[in-house]
């Protein structure tokens, strides 16, 4: 770990500024309305098994999330975190696992309306309460994003201020926002010295518009652009993620008691920067990210005031990247589909229970993550209990 360096002082300054801003948001707000507390918890399970030829074996992740929220009509605070375990049993290696708390996200917001325009200031703090330093043999417990909900339980101290604006013009609305994520440094390994990692910061600008089409149709479109700054390892620049363009649209059909949502999303990432032979960051010769397309279909039926059932179909396709097949950075792409039912039981205005399960199939071509490629079957299951008072 680093000592008392200018970087540490800067982080401490950010921490102090973040707390001061949070306090200012809390104190400046003068709630003239009810105080609503919400407590949420439950279970989340991911479990999967890969084909024998992939050598990926099996894995699972079990998380118990806990969240507490305090909301008024104009400001709110929340804290969310989890306790869980993640285990990956590779075919030709010892079992890798991590167990413990995840990072805790503390958030606050302040919102008000000016001449019909909604303005929302938000501040998120990711407190490094989670397991971040793993033994080298347990690193495989950091599983792929398509297999488990949470890859790393813990990272550094992050600060994410956001400003959002939205205005409705009756039949349509327009909004936008900007956020800057300061990412903190953390030690990813317990038994390797001098490998502290500081992910690059993220600046995201997003624009959203929605329009009602007829009596029961609504179309929401959004575009977001994210710029990443440089990753550092042990204080040295090692990588810069390429900027990301995220374009999506959601079509909602809501005559009720039936409702349906169709979402399509395209994520394009530009060339990243990697260390060249001279040890300097340089734009990579080919794009290491293939274009990504996501789609989702959800159909629900509101049986009565207490029960709602739904079916969900998710799909994700990532094209092969631009590197030659013989290159170590070659990624052949992947396709994932997940499908399953869900149910929501609303006992009263203050208590609700939601459960859902999705079976998924992942076909991953050869890549640095899956050296032999893999076909994987698994499930994602959720149980969530919410109580308001």
């Amino acid at each position: 770990m680093t000592g008392w360096t200018p970087g540490v002082r800067a982080r401490c300054g950010r921490l102090a500024a973040a707390f001061l801003l949070t306090a200012a948001v809390s104190l400046a707000a003068a709630p003239a309305a009810a105080d609503q507390w919400t407590v949420s918890s439950g279970l989340h399970l991911d479990a999967w098994s890969a084909d024998d030829s992939s050598g990926q074996g099996t894995g699972y992740e079990l998380l118990v999330p806990v969240g507490i929220f305090f909301d008024t009509p104009i400001w709110g605070l929340s804290a969310r975190g989890s306790f869980g375990t993640s285990q990956h049993d590779l075919d030709a290696a010892a079992s890798a696992s991590m167990t413990g708390f995840t990072d805790t996200t503390v958030s606050g917001y302040y919102r008000w309306r000016v001449s019909g325009t909604e303005i929302r200031f938000g501040l998120d703090l990711d407190l490094p309460s989670g397991v971040s330093s793993l033994k080298t043999r347990d690193l495989p417990a950091v599983q792929d994003e398509d297999l488990v909900a949470l890859q790393r339980f813990g990272e550094g101290f992050d600060v994410n201020p956001t400003v959002l604006v939205y205005r409705s013009f009756g039949g349509w609305g327009l909004g936008g926002g900007v956020g800057y994520l300061w990412t903190g440094e953390y030690d990813p390994t317990e038994d390797i010295a001098g490998d502290d990692f500081d992910p690059g910061d993220e600046l995201t600008v997003s624009v959203l518009g929605d329009v009602f089409l007829g009596d029961v149709w609504r179309l929401i479109g959004r575009v977001a652009y994210t710029h990443f700054s440089t990753d550092e390892r042990a204080g040295f620049e090692v990588f810069r993620e390429g900027d990301e363009l995220d374009v999506g649209a959601t079509l909602e059909w809501r005559p009720e008691p039936w409702w349906a949502l169709v979402t399509v999303r395209d994520i394009y990432r530009f060339e990243a920067e990697r260390l060249n032979a001279a040890g300097r960051l340089d734009e990579e010769s080919r794009n290491s990210h293939g274009n990504e397309i996501r789609g989702a279909l959800a159909v629900g039926y509101i049986i009565d005031d207490a029960w709602t059932v739904r079916g969900v179909l998710d799909a994700r396709y990532v094209a092969a990247n631009d590197y030659a097949t013989a290159d170590p950075l070659y990624d052949g792409g992947r396709f994932k589909v997940a499908v399953g039912p869900g149910v929501t039981w609303t006992l009263s205005r203050t208590f609700a229970l939601d459960a859902g399960v999705r079976w998924f199939y992942l076909d991953a071509e050869r890549s640095p993550v899956f050296p032999s490629g893999a076909t994987i079957n698994g499930v994602h299951a959720d149980l969530r209990v919410t109580y308001r008072f």
């Binding site: 309305a33 991911d46 813990g154 009756g170 039949g171 995201t204």
Partner: protein, 281 residues
């Protein structure tokens, strides 16, 4: 919001619950309603008082109290069984009756809406008592009457009366005995009644109209969580998801497209039936 004419009276009779909504119910005193939201301009005029006073959150209202809102004002009150009444802008609501039983649970509550707009959400547990005849939930005025059980609905009275049902089932009829027939509208439907005519068939509430009806200046409930509510929050939620939730570890969501994008810069290592009678002369 449709222009609301004077003379519409809203009277609500609330049956007490077999099961109480613990937190809210505990907070209630006998024969009073608690103000959980008061957004200026909003004032309270007590029975027999000549001058009005600004209404404050936390105030307890009793029989005879009137709540009046100006442009942009709003108020929300909670009854002992957890039922909610929201008063939109430019409205005048009088608490006509607040009866409680031996265990201080509301038996009959009645409100007179002289002008403006109001939304009522009736706690589900009231249904049991309504079913046994020991409680009821009704809306009544010189020109319109609605009796409800377990529902969430709004009344808007302009040149015609419209009854919007957000949850439960609502039965609407004309008050004139000479006008036969009624309609029963379910969730997300509305009906319209012209003076001297039968109610029209139920129609889906157009999303555009629903957004206007559930705007913060109108009948979006702000004091507590209630669904459906302000439709603008759906769009705002999309921005929050992209700029906040997807960035933070503690806000992870179940994996799948549309959920978390994952950090790309990670280290490169491996109901029951409701009966509502709306009568318009």
């Amino acid at each position: 919001m449709r222009k609301v004419t004077r003379g519409l009276t809203l009277a609500v009779a609330v049956g007490a619950a077999l099961l109480t909504s613990a937190a809210r119910a505990d907070a209630q005193a006998a024969g009073t309603a608690e103000v959980i939201l008061a957004r200026a301009p909003v004032e309270r005029m007590g029975r027999g008082q000549a001058a009005a006073q600004p209404l404050q959150k936390g105030a307890r209202l009793a029989e005879g109290d009137r709540v009046r809102t100006g442009k942009g004002g709003a108020a929300e009150i909670v009854l002992g069984d957890g039922s909610l009444v929201r008063i939109g802008e430019l409205s005048d609501l009088e608490i006509d009756k607040l009866d409680v039983d031996a265990v201080n649970q509301p038996v009959t509550s009645r409100f007179n809406l002289a002008v403006g707009q109001a939304r009522a959400w009736v706690a589900r547990q009231v249904v049991a008592r309504v079913g046994t005849g020991t409680g009821r939930f009704a809306v009544q005025s010189p020109t319109a009457v609605a009796a409800v059980r377990q529902t969430d609905f709004a009344l808007v009275h302009g040149d015609v009366s419209r009854v919007y049902t957000f949850a439960g089932v609502v039965e609407t009829r004309n008050t004139l005995a000479a006008v036969p027939g009624f309609v029963v509208c379910g969730r997300n439907r509305y009906t319209e009644v012209e003076p001297g005519k039968q109610p029209r068939d139920c129609q889906v509430i157009p999303l555009r109209e629903k957004r206007k009806l559930l705007a913060p200046d109108a009948l979006a409930v702000e004091g507590v969580f209630l669904d459906p509510n302000n439709l603008d929050n759906v769009a705002l939620g999309g921005l929050i998801q992209q700029l906040s939730s997807e960035k933070m570890t503690g806000t992870w969501s179940s994996v799948g497209p549309g959920g978390s994008t994952g950090r790309p810069d990670a280290p490169p290592q491996s109901a029951g039936t409701t009966n509502v009678d709306v009568i318009v002369k």
